[in-house]
Assembly symmetry: C2
Homo-oligomer: 210 residues x 2
C-alpha cells in the first residue's frame, strides 16, 4: 500500500546497514529525550520508518536494542578520544594531552551523536542485566583515562597527594553533566573543553596554597 517513508538524514550509525542502523539511531534519539521505559518499541519503529513488530527481525527485543545503543555510545567517545591522543604532536605536554582528551570527549558527547548522550542519560534506568553487559566497554574507556593520568603522575606533572581515581571521576562526571545545560548556540564544544581543562588543571583559586 503506502510506500515506506525513508527518513535517513544522517544519523550516527549511517552507511553500512540500513535497517539496523536506522533503528539504533531512532532509539538513541528517543531514549536520550524521554528515558528508557518511556519509549515504546512502536515509537522507535515509527521514528525508524517501520512498524512495531518489524523490530524483531533485527533484534531479540527491547533490551537488546538498548544494549546496542549503550555499547555504541561508549565506543564512539572512546574512538574519538583515542584518535585525538594519537594525533597529538610528539612534543605535546601531558597538560595538552588532558586538554585534547577532554575536548574530544566533549565534542563526541555534545555535537556528534545521540548514542553518546543517551548513554549518560539512561544508563541508570536500564535493567541490571543490560548494565552488566555494558560494563566491559565502559571499563575499557575508564582505563584510557586512568592511563593518561598515570602517565602524568609518572612524569611528575601532577600534585603528589592527588587521588587519581577521584580526579578521573570528577572530570568525566563534570564533562558528562554538560549535557543537561549545554546550548550549541551560545558556546562551542571546543571553547567549553578549553575552559573545563583549564579549570581542572589549575583550579579556581588565584593563589595556589602550596
Amino acid at each position: 500500500m503506502a510506500t515506506r517513508s525513508t527518513k535517513q538524514q544522517g544519523g550516527a550509525t549511517e552507511g553500512f546497514d540500513g535497517g539496523r542502523a536506522r533503528i539504533l539511531d531512532a532509539a538513541a534519539r528517543l531514549f536520550r529525550e524521554h528515558g528508557y521505559a518511556a519509549v515504546s518499541l512502536r515509537a522507535i519503529a515509527a521514528e525508524a520508518g517501520m512498524q512495531g513488530g518489524s523490530l524483531y527481525h533485527h533484534f531479540r527485543g527491547k533490551e537488546e536494542i538498548v544494549s546496542a545503543v549503550l555499547d555504541l555510545g561508549i565506543l564512539r567517545v572512546h574512538e574519538a578520544v583515542d584518535a585525538a591522543l594519537a594525533g597529538l604532536p610528539p612534543e605535546a605536554s601531558l597538560s595538552d594531552a588532558i586538554h585534547a582528551a577532554a575536548a574530544a570527549h566533549l565534542e563526541a558527547l555534545l555535537s556528534h551523536s545521540d548514542h553518546t548522550s543517551a548513554n549518560v542519560r539512561i544508563f541508570g534506568q536500564v535493567p541490571a542485566r543490560v548494565r552488566e553487559g555494558n560494563k566491559t566497554v565502559r571499563r575499557a574507556y575508564e582505563a584510557l583515562w586512568s592511563d593518561l593520568l598515570d602517565r602524568a603522575v609518572t612524569a611528575g606533572a601532577l600534585r603528589p597527594g592527588l587521588d587519581r581515581r577521584l580526579a578521573r571521576r570528577a572530570l568525566i562526571g563534570a564533562l558528562n553533566a554538560t549535557l543537561e545545560w549545554f546550548d550549541p548556540d551560545r558556546m562551542s564544544p571546543a571553547h567549553l573543553a578549553t575552559a573545563y581543562a583549564d579549570l581542572f588543571l589549575h583550579g579556581i583559586l588565584k593563589e595556589p596554597a602550596r
Copy 2:
C-alpha cells in the same frame, strides 16, 4: 481484612504528615532506582503500604507526585548548604566556605535522602510541564552558588579570567555525578567532599601555570 502493613522506617519526609510523606518517600526511592516512567503508581502505593487508587486522595496524579519529589529534593540540599554556610565561623575564608558548601551538598545528596538523588537522576525524563514547574526552586539553589562564587571574586580570591557560571556548573555537575559510583562502605561523604573541594580549588597540576 488484612491490616495495613506499616513500613515507616525513617524516610526523609518523616513526622508531620503520615500518608503524604510515606508516598513521597516511597516514590523517591523507586524513582531513584528505576527512573520515572518505569515506576507504576501501584508500585509506589505498595511501597507506601497502600492500594493504587488511594494515592489519588493525596495527589492529583503521577505528575503531581513526581513534582513534589523534585521540589523537595532541591529544597533539602538547599537547606543543608544554607545551614552549613550559616554555621561557619566569622573568620572562615572563602575557600573554607566553598569547601563547606560542597561538603553539605554531598552529605545531603549521598547519605541523607532519596529525594535528592531522585532529583539528579530523573529530572531529564520527566514531562516538560513538571520540569518547568521545578525551575524556580532549581534556580534559587543555583543562585546560592553564584553568590558564593561572586563573593569570592569580589574578595579577589579567584583567578581573574574565570568563568563563574562554568565553574559553578562543573562543580555541581561533578558533585552530582558521584551518585553513579559512590559507595559509602569505601569512603565517607565528608572525605569525598574534601577531596573534591581540593581538586576544584587547586587543580590537579603540580606547578601552577601563572
